[in-house]
């Protein structure tokens, strides 16, 4: 598909929209007092990140990102909140003391400085080309050859998670 004339005037605002969604979502997730709004912020940031993946020529990753983060992670978190949390904003006074704030600022600033230095001074390889078209065959081949370790590790982690859930659930049945 050839780009249509003046497409950069359309593409740039969309990119800024996704960038803004990512940042705004992250800020909402951190600063809001209602925990359910934090989850909504997380969902918004996920949509923004999915847009970033799309701009990086990875539509498969973008779509999977939405499917996993909004379709599964956010819904599970909201479900857990609905079962557990009273929906008033909570004030946790002990955590807002000066030393906590300074410590958090120092830690966050340190990480930010390190990442920024890495980004600016690091020895980056050549800009990656699009290695494949993201078709099912390519993903399958990658999962079973070069990425097989990650694939098996994920399988193992999921197995452990399922076993743990079953173990906890079985114990709960006999409480009453």
């Amino acid at each position: 598909m050839t780009p249509f004339p003046a497409s950069e005037y359309v593409v740039l605002p969309i990119f800024i929209l996704f960038l803004g969604a990512t940042l705004a979502g992250a800020l909402i997730a951190v600063f809001t007092k209602w925990i359910i709004r934090s989850v909504c912020g997380l969902a918004l940031a996920s949509v923004g990140l999915a847009g970033m993946f799309y701009f990086l020529n990875s539509p498969f990753l973008a779509v999977i990102h939405i499917l996993i983060y909004i379709g599964a992670v956010c819904i599970t978190i909201i479900f857990a909140i609905m079962l557990a949390e009273p929906d008033e904003p909570t004030d946790a006074p002990g955590q807002h003391s000066l030393s906590w704030t300074l410590g958090a600022a120092a830690a966050a600033g340190g990480v930010f400085l390190a990442l920024a230095l890495l980004g600016l001074k690091g020895d980056w390889p050549a800009p990656p080309k699009q290695v494949s078209d993201g078709s099912v065959e390519n993903i399958g081949v990658a999962l079973l050859t070069s990425q097989s370790l990650a694939f098996l590790t994920i399988a193992l982690v999921l197995l452990v998670a399922i076993l743990g859930a079953i173990a906890i659930a079985r114990k709960g049945r006999h409480m009453e």
Binding site: V63, M82, G134, V136
Partner: protein
């Protein structure tokens, strides 16, 4: 196609939005008419010939109502929930191929993209129920998520089975493989999987459940939960949810047509493809309506038992079976 790209996209956008609006309005009319017929009464008759102007009257009524935000509700999320529901549904129409030419974006991961867009639906209903601070709403939100999580698993297993059979994620690619006479449709593709009709029935059951249609409409069981998550919504806030629900039904049925019924391919070789696509689509939608007014609502544990104890084992079996069949033949 010779149309300039931005104009083509704009046309498709307007087309998708008006298709959703028109269908939502007139599927309500079809639903009310057929509900009337199933219950041996006439359905809407007063406004226009055979009640044909009834949806327009309903829309004017909905738009003229005052929008009320209940006190104590989370105002922002309460307003955002209907907004979150509608755009993903319209975006999904951009990927659906109505015929070999009538497709806005031929997305190479269209099948997964459809499911990604439909996952917004759950979170929107859940936020609507939670933010309205209403006990019916919260019960409905809890139900909608457990139901959707339970039925997402057999649905995804069916999708993986179909992916094995077709080998592509592109919706147009899937349809093109079913070209020719009707025995090439995936529904009758018994060489790939002898249990293909069973797979389709499981897909259909999961689709009914994911779109919260009876007999699985636990989320808005009006005899026990008033209107579930939508109880507190007045006027067009409710109208948007309603439109999005019908849009999701259309998307689910269109996906069934694409995956199992050969998309736009004609069984006898006359008429252009889009007519056949719409014919199959509306036939399936009519079956959805028929099921709703024929079967009573299930109970909630029955719903979850059906998913975990019957649908998931059966889909796992058909999945294994089609893997083996593909390897052998």
């Amino acid at each position: 196609m010779t149309t300039v790209e931005p104009i083509r996209l704009l046309l498709f956008l307007v087309g998708a939005a008006s298709f959703v609006g028109l269908n939502a309005a007139y599927l309500v009319w079809v639903e009310r008419k057929s509900a009337g017929r199933f219950q041996r009464r006439a359905g809407p008759t007063e406004v226009g010939y055979a009640g044909l102007l009834q949806p327009i009257a309903d829309a004017i009524k909905l738009m003229s109502k005052q929008l009320i935000v209940p006190p104590g509700a989370d105002r922002f999320l309460f307003r955002m929930a209907p907004v979150m529901m509608m755009p993903p549904a319209i975006m999904a129409f951009a990927i659906l191929p109505f015929s070999e030419h009538l497709v806005a974006i031929d997305f190479n991961v269209g099948l997964i993209a459809l499911f990604a867009f439909s996952s917004f639906n759950v979170i929107a209903v859940m936020l609507a129920g939670w933010s309205s601070r209403n006990k019916y709403g919260i019960i409905s939100a809890a139900r909608v998520v457990s139901q959707n999580v339970a039925y997402e698993i057999p649905m995804m297993l069916v999708i993986i089975t179909m992916l094995l059979v077709s080998g592509t994620l592109s919706l147009t690619g899937i349809v093109e493989q079913q070209a020719g006479a009707f025995w090439n449709w995936n529904l009758f593709n018994l060489a790939a999987n002898p249990l293909m009709p069973v797979t389709f029935i499981i897909f259909f059951i999961c689709m009914l459940s994911e779109t919260n249609r009876a007999p699985f409409d636990m989320a808005e069981a009006e005899s026990e939960l008033v209107a579930g998550a939508y109880t507190e919504y007045a006027g067009m806030g409710f109208g948007v949810f309603f439109m999005a629900e019908y849009a999701n039904i259309i998307i689910g049925c269109a996906l069934a047509v694409i995956l199992f019924f050969g998309g736009w391919h004609s069984p006898i070789g006359v008429f252009p493809g889009v007519i056949w696509f719409l014919l199959k689509l509306y036939l399936l939608i009519f079956i959805v309506i028929w099921v709703r007014w024929t079967f009573p609502r299930t109970q909630f544990y029955g719903l979850l038992n059906l998913s975990w104890k019957i649908l998931i084992p059966v889909t796992l079996f058909t999945f294994l079976l089609s893997s083996v069949m593909i390897k052998i033949f």
